[in-house]
C-alpha cells in the first residue's frame, strides 16, 4: 500500500494559522482526482488554551437577546408518558422548556397570539447532564425536576395460587 506522506508546511505565526497538508507525488489519487490529503482537516498545531470548565459561555455570542438570558427561566425535566397511549419512549429523553408567557386571542381570527419567541420551543437531550450543560453554557437560570420513580409491580402466575389469600384468584 502506498504510504501517504503528509508534507506539511508549518508557518510560524503569532495568529493560529492552520497548516494545510499538501500533496506529494506519492499520494494516491482517486478517480475524481482527489487524494486523502485533500479531504483531511488542516493540521492545527496551535497551543491549547485552558479555561475553567464553568467559564464556558455561549450566551453572549449566541444572538439571544440579553433580557431573555437574564429574565427567563428554564425547566429541565422528563416529559410524562402520554396518558391516552401506552408508549413510553417519551419518558427516556430530557427536555428544556422556558417559562410560559401570556397568550391572548388574536382579534382577526381568534387564534392564540403570543409575544414570546420561546413559547413553543423545547430542546431535547439524551441525558440530564447534557441539558444542564446547555443551560449553563447559554447562561439561563434553570431548575431540574427529577422524574418520579415509577413503581412497577412484579407479577407472577404463581401468585394466583399463593398461600397469601389476597393474591389468589378465586377462579383457579
Amino acid at each position: 500500500m502506498n504510504s501517504l506522506l503528509l508534507k506539511t508546511t508549518t508557518r510560524l505565526s503569532r495568529i493560529n494559522l492552520f497548516s494545510i497538508p499538501q500533496r506529494t507525488l506519492f499520494d494516491v489519487q482517486n478517480v475524481w482526482g482527489r487524494t486523502a490529503v485533500d479531504t483531511q482537516k488542516p493540521i492545527d498545531s496551535s497551543p491549547l488554551a485552558e479555561i475553567p470548565r464553568q467559564d464556558e459561555s455561549v450566551g453572549a455570542i449566541s444572538g439571544v437577546p440579553r433580557e431573555f438570558l437574564k429574565e427567563r427561566r428554564c425547566r429541565v425535566f422528563v416529559p410524562a408518558r402520554n396518558a391516552m397511549q401506552s408508549g413510553t419512549n417519551n419518558g427516556k429523553k430530557w427536555k428544556v422548556e422556558w417559562d410560559t408567557k401570556e397568550r391572548w386571542e388574536n382579534p382577526l381570527m381568534g387564534w392564540a397570539s403570543s409575544s414570546d419567541p420561546h413559547s413553543s420551543v423545547a430542546v431535547e437531550f439524551a441525558s440530564k447532564e447534557d441539558a444542564i450543560i446547555y443551560c449553563e453554557r447559554m447562561g439561563y437560570k434553570y431548575e431540574v425536576i427529577e422524574p418520579p420513580k415509577i413503581q412497577r409491580l412484579n407479577k407472577s402466575y404463581g401468585a394466583n395460587y399463593s398461600w397469601n389469600k389476597k393474591t389468589r384468584v378465586s377462579t383457579k
Binding site: S46, P52, R53
Partner: protein, 126 residues
Amino acid sequence: MSLSARIPQTLKQVRPVLSVDHAEAKRRVLNLYKIWLRQIPYIRIDYIKNNWTEPRLRDVIKENFMRNKDVTDIRAIDLLVVRGQMDFVETAEIWRQQHNAAVFDSTKNTYKKKPASFLERFYEGH
C-alpha cells in the same frame, strides 16, 4: 444554581479561537476600543441627521463594551471582539444605513417602559 456548585473547578483544554490567554484577549479588546474612539469624529460626519455629540458617542461605545464585561471564556471574548471589529468596518465604510446608524442613539429605552410592579401590570391589563 451554578455549575461550580456541582462540579469542582476543573480546567478544560480548548482550542483557542484567536487568543491563548486572558492577557492577549484583553489586548484585543483595548485595541478595538481605541479604534472605535478614533472613529467617533467621522461617525458624526458620515451619518447625517443626528444630534450626536462626541461625549455621547463615547458613552454609547463604553456602554456597548461594558455590556459584555462579565464574559470570561476566552473564545467568547475573541468572537465578541471579531463581531465588534465587523461592526466597526461596517460603520467606517458607511455600509450602514440611517436606521442602522440608530445603534448610536441612546441604548436606554426612550419609549414606554415595561411595567415592573404588580399595579402597573394590572393597569396594563395583565
